[in-house]
Symmetry: C3
Subunit: 159 residues, 3 copies
């Protein structure tokens, strides 16, 4: 099994449905002995913020406003049919009803399976976020070149 | 030509324009001797539903409502400039005018070229859809691990 | 370094944030000695239009209207929190503040690094755009089969 391809997922979108898809693919790959790396950038960083709701992060007014509007892990919108934010909750209800892993469970599974969580240096810079704003599970803050090097031996999926 | 890379397309989005892009890449790849697999999940399942318009599929009220709102192959929205659903029709008109294959023609071509259509087990589960709700052309219902194994020797494109 | 994988980016989306991500990955890959190709299709073509604002391009009324609404490089919307178009400007301000390359600078860098810019034949056809409507930096207008052949030895990222 050691020769299976690695999987790198670029988690750019912070849409609830796409984040669930990203973690489902990531954990599925890790559970079948693939080395999996997830690289979070821009909207995707919302998943990694310590503050799971809306919060005024950053220094400048602009960054503060953007971070507030972008929100955190608990305010991820659905990419369609969002209905002002209730849909992610409804979807989680449907997932629970059918014993499908919810987003918090998927993130926990990702950690348990040793999936590496990387955050994008440049996006953090633009949004004025620092290491202290991110959950402890984030292994490193890296640039594009590093992420590409990590992905040499496998697939890259941009979500 | 036998050594060309396989192509797996994850059809996550049910946006009309992205579905057209997915089938264009898929048929183009198959026509040039690549083994092509399309894996449909979440919004992408709308393309595979037997009911091509809006329909109350599933058992529970929540699933029924979601499936109704998600619609089918004939109600796919444009990812932008949708204008309440008329744009997909306008776009189809422009494709016909220029003798470019329309979506139904692309799907037919995909079948003729032997492209495998797979549906995502977990997404069907959440949306309370069964094999009987999907068109006959669907070859199998599989999980993430199977889809990843099928993709080992090629590219994965997430649309 | 010669054995690093090539990178092909399919720039389908014309969202400002995704285009910035596409060019950031492209220039980062090229700067670390990868052969990089960018294939622009549908909304992504807005980046390559000579007219950087809204313009009535194409022959028929439908194409003219679509092109006008799609806009150009200077009217790319943010994929979320667009606020009627002001957000791309705000984002550019935040990028400048932190000395991060802005979109025009990234495009210039892409040219300087020898990244190949290809435009999708079929999408141009549907939108009734010709070579004369695109910036000089576009190297060629190609179909899906050509783009796939160019991508054989590397990653494909669909943005």
């Amino acid at each position: 099994m050691a020769d299976k391809k690695d999987l790198t997922i670029v988690c750019f979108s912070g849409d609830f449905d796409k984040v669930v898809a990203a973690f489902t693919m990531a954990t599925g790959a890790a559970a079948t002995n693939r080395k999996v790396t997830m690289f979070f950038t821009f909207w995707g960083l919302n998943v990694l913020k310590k503050k799971q709701g809306r919060a005024w992060l950053g220094q400048g007014l602009m960054a503060k406003t953007f971070n507030f509007l972008m929100g955190g892990r608990k305010t991820l919108p659905l990419s369609r049919l969002n209905f002002g934010g209730v849909s992610a909750g409804l979807m989680t209800g449907m997932m629970k009803k059918h014993n499908v892993a919810t987003l918090p469970e998927l993130i926990e599974a990702a950690n348990a399976l040793g999936i590496r969580l990387l955050a994008c240096e440049m996006a953090l810079h633009i949004l004025e976020l620092g290491r202290e704003d991110l959950v402890d599970e984030v292994e490193d803050i890296v640039g594009v070149a590093t992420f590409l090097n990590e992905s040499e031996n496998g697939h890259i999926i941009f979500v």
